[in-house]
Amino acid sequence: MLNIMQITLKGIFRDRVFQGIMALGVLFLFIPSAASLSMRQVTELSITLSLSLISFILLLLAVFLGSTSLWKDMERRYTFSVLSLPLSRSSYLLGRFCGLALFLILTSTVLGTVAGLVIKMAYGIYPSDRPIVWSWLALAVLFATLKYILLVGVAMLLSTVSTSFFLPIFGTICAFLSSGITQQVYEFVNSPAAAKTVSPLMKPLVTAVYYLLPNLAGFDLKVNAIYGIAPNPAGLWLTFAYFCAYTAILLGAATLLFNRREMK
């Protein structure tokens, strides 16, 4: 499995993905000047822009790397040669996942450091009324990384059942978009206001979908980092536990399906 992880990381670097990220990372240089357009919250805007850029880059990586990693191997028929080695399919898949997760962690560490410097610079030019809480900023980046690692899991699960890259890519994007609103829909359907307007059949259906889809809204700590609002520690642990449980389910299901998959 460690070998596969290494191969995955090497493959990503060989494909010059990191250089691509660095090219996008040039946008960080423009953040202080863009943030200075704000009237009263230059530092806050620079944090918003930095975290958004990190989030966007990680999303692209999670969707495209996660969806194409397995598909590319199968398309190029690399899987035959790899799986002919004394190596189980499970450790192949888990190795791929861990390699991608490690790459996301590496990327967010580098981008997080750059963002820190940019924010410090913006803060130096126009100090904000609210002090910057660096640990919450780091927590926001950490939880964003966890969120996208989970999304890699979704992409890999979809890859194991798909014959092309369309289902994993679009499926992952759909899962990502819906993951932000499932909480709102669930709360609305279960609110007294909806009791009259929503049919009784919808309620269990929505609840089932709510439990099935990943709920990624809890991983978003941007507001806490931007405006220095203390996050709830118990909630953070619960979110972390949710990440572990949900990722375990995704990887378990993906491995089972991958083990049964016929390779032609």
Binding site: S36, L37, S38, M39, R40, Q41, E44, L45, T48, L49, L51, S52, S55, F56, Y126, D129, R130, A144, K147, F176, L177, G180, I181, Q184, L216, A217, F219, D220, K222, V223, I226, Y227, I229
Partner: protein, 293 residues
Amino acid sequence: MRPVSAPAVLLVAGLLAYGLLIGPFTSYMANKPVEEKLGFVPSIKLIKPLSADQKELMGASLVMKVLMYFGGAVGKSQDARIIGEPVDLQGMSRLLHGAVQLDPYNMDAYYFAQGFLTWDAKQFKVANELLDYGMKYRTWDWYLPFFAGFNHAYFLKDYPKAATYYQRAGELSNNSLFINLAGRYMQEAGRTDLAIAYLTAMEQNEKNPALKKEYLIRLTAFREVRRIEEARDRFRQQRGVLPHSMEQLLQSDLLTPVPVDPYGGNFYLEADGKVASSSRFSFARTGNPKGDK
């Protein structure tokens, strides 16, 4: 001679056409009507789910859109005129309300909305409701109760309510000025002082040159009003009666130099001695609604 290849012809033709078109296209975009420039923004109910985990960014970009638009409208003004073309205040308000639904902590939205909803649009109730909404989230921020207090005192003349907001601003900022103001706004006499204190604070914190300019002009006007009020009070002290006109006040040598209204109006005294101006402290009232000379 080598024949020219078709792709090269296409590229050169494209470059030439682009070079010819980009000028007219840029000026067409720059001169688009107001409504088209501020643009149609879909309902926040739709933007919210679509912006996924980028709600703060979406909120900030809506605020920026309004700011750029307003900055452009002010930039077009000439000769110290504030607004050169009718500004879509309703559209601006709609976008800012959307922005705080996406990110209820966005200070720029409250700050900017307060700036134009009160002075320009005269929508005091809308402004106060927005500030009350913001206070639920920005619990540490003294600016919001400070603005709400000012709106109640200066525009709505609801002094008891103004006093409570100033008290809250005072508690949050530990600034004695607000606490003093809270007490003083029970009486109307302090209104010009209040406006000067408020605008000075706004002007000092302002980085946007267009808004800074707007505040400075209003501040100059109010300082002139204050000067007239002081002269009027001295006149009453000396002679026991209120001056019946500005001319009488000027002839008494209590008011030198002659006060000038930067909005182009003429100062006059109302029957109760209140200082007013024919401009009503707005360029629109001086007979130049479009702002040009």
